[in-house]
């Protein structure tokens, strides 16, 4: 609102000229930012979408021709595509939901006046500060069959029978990877929810308490409704990030064993950079966008309807 400040009267007369020179200045100041973003972000994105409808392949001077929906027809019959999208959705849903529930619990705790709250707040963001590759390496050490923390812990508590090669076993690989995803993503969600909790007006809580609402009732009817916009925003973003995630699982399992953790991005990466099938990989990318947008639309519409009731 600072734009409404009263200007000195002298400025009045040449206003039109000023405005035009202002516009020139604005564009001059914005150009160094806009140009690289246009060349290396907007243009590649549009081009990438287009490539999904072509037969582009790796290699220099390869002719690219428009093939319409051919890539998508091929996708329909690709077993690996179906399994990677099933795995991708399972992964994204489980990680987002678990991460949200755990983060909500932690945020509520950190919002209380507890001892060690400072320490907990610091520890809660440490996983967030780690490069995804390091998170992957860290958990490889935890899951390591011989030198790993988890197997050693199971041995010490006498549950020797449960020891396994967590990331190499067909049945445990996906759950093991999901836990890592939750561990890595929880801090950010916690911080966002905590910020949301702190902006819930205290008066509402006090009014509810005076009216005799117990803690659970206050949570249900005061905290949760006030927090809902934040919850919707962060769970949507988390879902997108998780569905498009790459580095973490690449380091943990590279999609194995037997494709049991082959997320869509890993599959697309393989298609593009192992087999050089750019068009097919871009088509996969397009399908990923469509799926995410469709799911988000359903989710946001339901939330909106509930909110309007």
């Amino acid at each position: 609102m600072t734009t409404l400040t009263v200007r000195p009267a002298v400025d009045r007369a040449p206003r039109r000229r000023r405005r035009r020179s202002d516009r020139a200045t604005v564009y001059l100041l914005l150009l160094p930012s806009l140009l690289p973003v246009l060349v290396l972000s907007v243009f590649p994105l549009l081009r990438g979408i287009y490539l999904g409808f072509t037969d582009a392949r790796a290699g220099r001077n390869v002719e690219i021709s428009f093939t319409g929906l051919a890539n998508y027809r091929e996708l329909l019959h690709d077993e690996l595509f179906w399994s990677s999208f099933r795995i991708g959705l399972l992964w994204a849903f489980s990680v987002t939901v678990l991460q949200f529930l755990l983060a909500l619990g932690l945020a509520l705790l950190l919002n209380q006046r507890l001892r060690f709250r400072g320490l907990a707040r610091v520890l809660a963001v440490v996983p967030w500060a780690m490069p995804p590759v390091v998170v992957g390496i860290l958990w490889r050490l935890v899951y390591h069959p011989d030198a790993g923390l988890l197997n050693e812990f199971l041995y010490r508590i006498g549950a020797d029978g449960l020891r396994t090669t967590w990331l190499g076993d067909f049945s445990t690989a996906l759950p093991a990877v999901i836990i890592v995803g939750v561990w890595a993503g929880m801090p950010q969600t916690t911080v966002v929810l905590l910020a949301g909790l702190q902006s819930v007006p205290r008066e509402l809580h006090e009014a509810a308490a005076v009216d005799g609402a117990d803690a659970w009732q206050r949570f249900r009817s005061v905290t949760l409704p006030s927090l809902m916009p934040v919850i919707v925003a962060i769970t949507s973003l988390d879902f997108i990030w998780n569905f498009n995630s790459f580095g973490l699982v690449y380091v943990l399992t590279a999609g194995g064993p037997g494709g049991r953790t082959m997320l869509p991005m890993l599959f697309a990466y393989e298609e593009a950079f192992r087999y050089g099938d750019y068009g097919y990989a871009a088509a996969l990318g397009n399908v990923m966008v469509v799926i995410v947008v469709a799911l988000l639309a359903v989710y946001l519409r339901r939330r909106l309807r509930e909110a309007n009731q």
Binding site: S33, G48, V125, H144, A184, S221, P225, V230
Partner: protein, 343 residues
Amino acid sequence: MTTWGHDPTIRSGGATSRSGDTTIGPGDVTARSGDATTRSRFGTTARDGHPTTGPIRSGVGTGRARKRRRGLGTGLQYLALAAYLIFLAFPLVWLLSTSFKPPRELVRLHPTLIPESPTLANFVQAFTEQELGRAAWNSLQVSLASAVLTVLVATPAAYALARFRTRLGTVALGWVLLSQLFPFVLLIIPIFLVLRQVGLANTHAGLVLIYVVWALPFALWMLQGFVRSIPRELEEAASVDGATRLQALRRVVFPLLTPGLVATAVFAFISAWNEFFFALVLIKTPELATLPVALARFVGIEGTARLGPLAAGSLLATLPSLVFFAIMQRRLASGSLAGAVKG
């Protein structure tokens, strides 16, 4: 310290409620929770059967019972907090412990949590034998260049967005959100082709360009918040005193903007330092690899005895962002940087 981030914090709050508007307006929230309170009041009165004394009684009469229940609740809360801390901390402790273990302890049948004869050999080995040293140097160069370039490019634009009324600010924010939707695989192929065309594929310069572009939207958004927190009146006062616009900028705006510039630079540095996917695809020469890529390569070929150097290297790779987070802790807690760093 007050100008540090006072305003951006508020602004980000505004942004959340603005995005909230699409779902529930802030007005709606109060109205609805108001309803809810009324409902719960009716609920209690109906159960108690003493409409007027109900609330008062629960406030005064059952003090001791309430205290006991709170004691139990607090105990449970500490228990839950302890569980969280174990889940969050143990993997980290394990990384720390592994990085100090000599090979002999790593191949042992039953490893211990605390190394029996801790050694620094892993850190030395990580940076001499395993080429991680060179990768760290590469990462440092790339990240520093990205940070400096991002600030240079973003500062004028952020100033323009904050001081002039233009729709581009909304467009920039929209692009930040929209670009999250698209998987990198859609971007990487055309980017790779563009860079190859201009001879920048497989070079650090190309990587730096990508990182700047990638960091820009958020950097712009963050930095224009900092600019807005500097009162426009200060600039106007300076120009009344006879300073030209440029002088006003240099003498008044710039000094006040320093914290914002530092925050932007650090954000750009960290996102470049942590980035993996573009570096993996765009850099083919092993000597040019950045630290995350070098570490990931190392993963494929490690034997149990070499876990030590791997852990040591990973730990060192975490240090820069850890320092950043330690500095930014308070602002992170306020949520104003909540969208800042995502791998």
